[in-house]
Amino acid sequence: MRYQVRLQAFEGPMDLLLHLIDQNQVDIYDIPIALITEQYLDYLEAAPDEDIANLADFLVMAATLLHIKARMLFPRRPPRDAAVTAAEREEDPRAELVQRLLEYQAVKAAARRLEALEQGAALRVYYRECSELPESPDWPLRASVQELCRAFRSVWRRRQEARPGEDVVPRGDVDVAAKMNELVLMVGEHPRGMPFSAVFATAATRREALAFFLALLELIRAGRVRAVQQHLRGEIRVSLVRRNIPC
C-alpha cells in the first residue's frame, strides 16, 4: 500500500508513528512493529522530492524501527500482558519507543491546550494592553522635528505606493456643505427627477463621490430633496421638494 501523504503534513517521525498507530487501531503498549515499520518505510519511499530536505529526522527513526524489528525476531520472553512487571517490560525492545511515544502524545495534547488558551477558547486572564506612551506630561520625551518630518514622508510614500492614482485626503478636504449647494442646483435642472447614478457622475474622486452621497442624505433628511424609486430595482430618481415660495 502506498501513501501519497506528504511528510510535511507531520510534525516529525513521532507524529507519523502516532498516526500509523491510530490508523491501524493498535495498542500503543503492544505495537506490531513489523507492520508499522513497513508502513513507515512506505511513507518515506513515497515522499515527494520537496520532502527530501526534511527526511533526515525520519531516517533516524527508520533505523530505530529496523533495529527494534531485528531484536523482536529473537523473543526471549513470552508475549507481554498486563501482568508483566516494569522490570520485565524494560527488556521489551519496544519499551523505550513506547515511552517516547507516550511522552510525545502528552506534548501534542499540551500543545492543543495551549492553542485553546491562545485563541481564548478556554477561560483565561488578560493582561492590560499597555499604551505606548506614559500618560504623565512631566515624563521626558526624546523626539526631533527631523524625525517627525521623515515619519510623515514615509507614511505618505507608503500611501501612494499602496493606492497609486487615488486622491489622498486633500488638504482642504471635500466640503459636504458645498456639495449640498451644488446638488440643489443640479437636481433643480431636472424637473422630472435626476437619476441617482447621474448625481455621482460629476465626482472626480471616490472621496468626492462620498461627499455627494453624504450631501444627498443631508438634503433628504432636511426635506429639501426627495428620492423616489418607481419599482423594485428600478432607477432611483432624485427631485427637489417644491415649497410655496412667498413672494
Binding site: P134, P137, A143, V176
Partner: protein
C-alpha cells in the same frame, strides 16, 4: 442574562484590558444590553472609582470611557515604568506626523493615510497631551478634529508650527 453585578464586572474587565477609550456602543454590544443601561452602569463606575480613593480611575471623555491610573499616583507609576527618556514608537510618531502636517484632521482621515486603525495610538497621544481635540468637522456625524498642542511644540523644540520643515521636499 447577566446579573447587574456581573455586567459591572464585565465592563471593568473590558475597560482594563482595552487600554483605550471604549464607546458605550461597543460595550453595550459586548454585554448584549441597551446602551442607556450600560451608560448608567458606566457612570456608576466612574463615581465609585472616584469615591473609593482607588489608584485607578474610570473617566468619561468624548471618545468613550477609559480606565487609567489616578493622576496623584503618577510619580509612583513613573518609578515603576522606568526612568529616563522615552522615545516615541514608530506608530506614535507616524500618527503624530499626520496630525502635525494635516491638522485639523479627523481620526478617519489619519487612518486613511496610515492605512491602519489608530484609535489606540491616538488615545495615548491624547493622554500624553501631544494632540488635542480642536473642534468638530461639519459633516454628518460631526467627527472630532485633532490638532497638535503647545506641549507638542515644547517636546519638539519649536516655538510655532511654522517651524515644521516642509514635508513635500525629499530628503
Amino acid at each position: 442574562m447577566l446579573m447587574r453585578r456581573e455586567v459591572r464586572a464585565a465592563l471593568e474587565a473590558m475597560l482594563f484590558a482595552a487600554g483605550r477609550p471604549l464607546t458605550v456602543e461597543e460595550l453595550a454590544q459586548a454585554v448584549d444590553m441597551a446602551a442607556p443601561d450600560v451608560r448608567a452602569l458606566l457612570d456608576e463606575l466612574v463615581l465609585e472609582y472616584n469615591e473609593k480613593g482607588s489608584g485607578l480611575l474610570v473617566a468619561a471623555s468624548g471618545q468613550g470611557y477609559l480606565m487609567c491610573t489616578s493622576p496623584e499616583y503618577a510619580p509612583y507609576v513613573k518609578k515603576i515604568l522606568g526612568p529616563g527618556e522615552k522615545r516615541l514608537s514608530q506608530a506614535a510618531l507616524e500618527t503624530l506626523a499626520v496630525v502635525a502636517y494635516r491638522q485639523p484632521v479627523t481620526r478617519a482621515e489619519i487612518e486613511a493615510v496610515r492605512g491602519v486603525r489608530v484609535d489606540r495610538t491616538l488615545a495615548s497621544l491624547l493622554a500624553r497631551g501631544l494632540v488635542a481635540e480642536v473642534g468638530r468637522k461639519e459633516v454628518p456625524g460631526r467627527p472630532a478634529l485633532y490638532g497638535t498642542t503647545v506641549e507638542f511644540l515644547r517636546v519638539f523644540g519649536m516655538t510655532s508650527l511654522d517651524e515644521l520643515p516642509p514635508a513635500d521636499k525629499e530628503d
